[in-house]
Amino acid sequence: MGIYLPIAEISVNVFVLLAMGAAVGFLSGMFGVGGGFLITPLLIFYNIPPAIAVATGANQVIASSFSGALSHFKRGTLDFKLGGVLLAGGIVGSTAGIYVFALLRRLGQLDLFISLLYVVLLGTVGGLMLVESVNALRASRSGAAPVLKKSGQHNWIHRLPFKMRFRASKLFVSVIPVLGLGAGIGFLSSIMGVGGGFIMVPALIYLLKVPTNVVIGTSLFQIIFTSAYTTLVHATTNQTVDVILAFLLMAGGVAGAQYGAKAGQRLRGEQLRALLAMLVLAVAIRLAVDLFVTPPNLYSLSAAGLN
């Protein structure tokens, strides 16, 4: 069944989009990530213009992160204060990101920049996760107890000034790295159409030493607002949010996420992380291949006079 997307201005198949949303939702429920980093490249492979894929991806991320944050709120594993500070940074980062986005679009380098960012970030995060999870799998097979870092351990981040207390996270830390992290994620959110969970979660755990049980809820809480802000700004400055496209993805996504979460409970943590790492790397490799393979058409057309 075909449907005409009013903003993307092309006809697409409804079932392909619902299936795409459900598949990504399943994976995001299974691994506890927003799924934006999969949705946006998938939309681009499906010939949706990158500018629309990014803005619509951000819109879709709101649905999955809102759904997830609700469950964490009910369980009390959400640090509003930490989320608020991350958000303040996120707004600044998003604003800068949108400006860079419009500039790159005018220069004709937007597609390249999006692809490069994806390849570098997904490649790095996927690679690190794969190494870590394979080591963990080996260690558990050889019977050795996993070495956990003690929460009392300090690094350079804990020596920065402007300290603030975050009760729910049992944390006393400088606001500088928190704001910086929020800004970085906001920047990526507006340029890549991702929530940034796949960077936020490891950063909160390893850099700020936030307890793992609070991390996912807080990260999702912050992502709702950053991606909502990104959606709003893309809608007003670039008019690239396609609600029909977003809705089809969300509808498939929220259904898939619940089944994915159930499937995820049957797998062990290291196995889950290894699978996620391979998935992330596969997306990165696919995008990298496109950068190096001679394109079928060297010439491309785009509307002039944007902004």
Partner: protein, 263 residues
């Protein structure tokens, strides 16, 4: 050569004719008219391209010329003009990057042609250039005319090629058929990605390879009901549209949790 002489006389005579009919001894000059059955077309959700039929008539045709088939008609449906950037990818450190570009002003977004015979059989190429008629001859004005002619040539060719590849520029040879001596029917293709806006239908009459007369009509192509409303709201009330998109996402997230809850 009667045809040629008649053409040479056609333009001034038709004006004279209007002013003082008494002086006209030669037969009245040919002209062409086209009519559209509708002045607006709506694209619905399932639109996958269509054929648009345009009817037209020759006025005062010379029966001898018509019988010999020496009248030719070219019908064009031209989309709204927009500025376009053509970019060329080049390899930099193994990565394909958009490097050179050329901007063109007022490029018709779509350009579909229907003809009685192949264009090269109707008139001389120079004639088409002069009339800016046909996807290959359409004049494309570069924004920066100081660029080298070779570069402009290259990007102009690329622009035509890309437009043809996406089906936006098309040519339908034999798409214009004479139904009688006066009446003709033209079939032009509307591509699935036909742009919305004001399109211009133009008909060109040729007699023995010489251009005689042109006639035009306007056609509005718009998205039908729902798609059009979404598009309009997204552009005219972009802030509210953004707020709506966010609310829809939150509602979907909340409902999804209630309906599919597994915990």
């Amino acid at each position: 050569m009667a045809g040629l002489r008649a053409f040479a006389a056609a333009v001034p005579l038709s004006m004279l004719f209007a002013l003082s009919p008494a002086t006209a001894q030669t037969p009245p000059a040919e002209s062409i008219q086209i009519g559209l059955s509708t002045d607006a077309i709506s694209i619905t959700a399932g639109f996958s391209g269509a054929d648009l039929t345009i009817f037209g008539s020759l006025e005062n045709p010379d029966p001898l010329v018509a019988r010999q088939g020496r009248y030719d008609v070219v019908v064009v449906l031209e989309g709204p003009p927009r500025p376009v950037v053509v970019r060329r990818k080049d390899r930099v450190l193994g990565v394909w990057i958009n490097l050179d570009s050329e901007t063109f002003e007022n490029v018709p977004v779509s350009y579909s042609v229907a003809t009685t015979r192949p264009l090269q059989d109707i008139a001389e190429p120079a004639k088409y250039k002069q009339l800016s008629l046909g996807a290959q001859n359409l004049y494309l004005k570069p924004a920066d005319e100081t660029d080298s002619p070779a570069t402009i040539e290259e990007f102009t060719a690329a622009l035509r090629e890309r437009k043809a590849a996406t089906g936006l520029y098309s040519e339908n040879v034999g798409g214009v058929q004479f139904l009688s001596q006066n009446l003709f029917r033209a079939t032009v293709r509307l591509a699935p990605n036909v742009p919305v806006g004001t399109h211009k239908a133009r008909a060109f009459l040729f007699k023995s390879g010489m251009f005689v007369k042109e006639s035009s009509a306007q056609l509005e192509i718009r998205k039908s009901g729902f798609e059009q409303s979404v598009f309009r709201v997204a552009h005219d009330y972009s802030f509210l549209y953004g707020v709506f998109a966010i609310s829809l996402a939150m509602l979907t997230g909340w409902l999804g949790r209630i309906i599919f809850r597994k915990d």
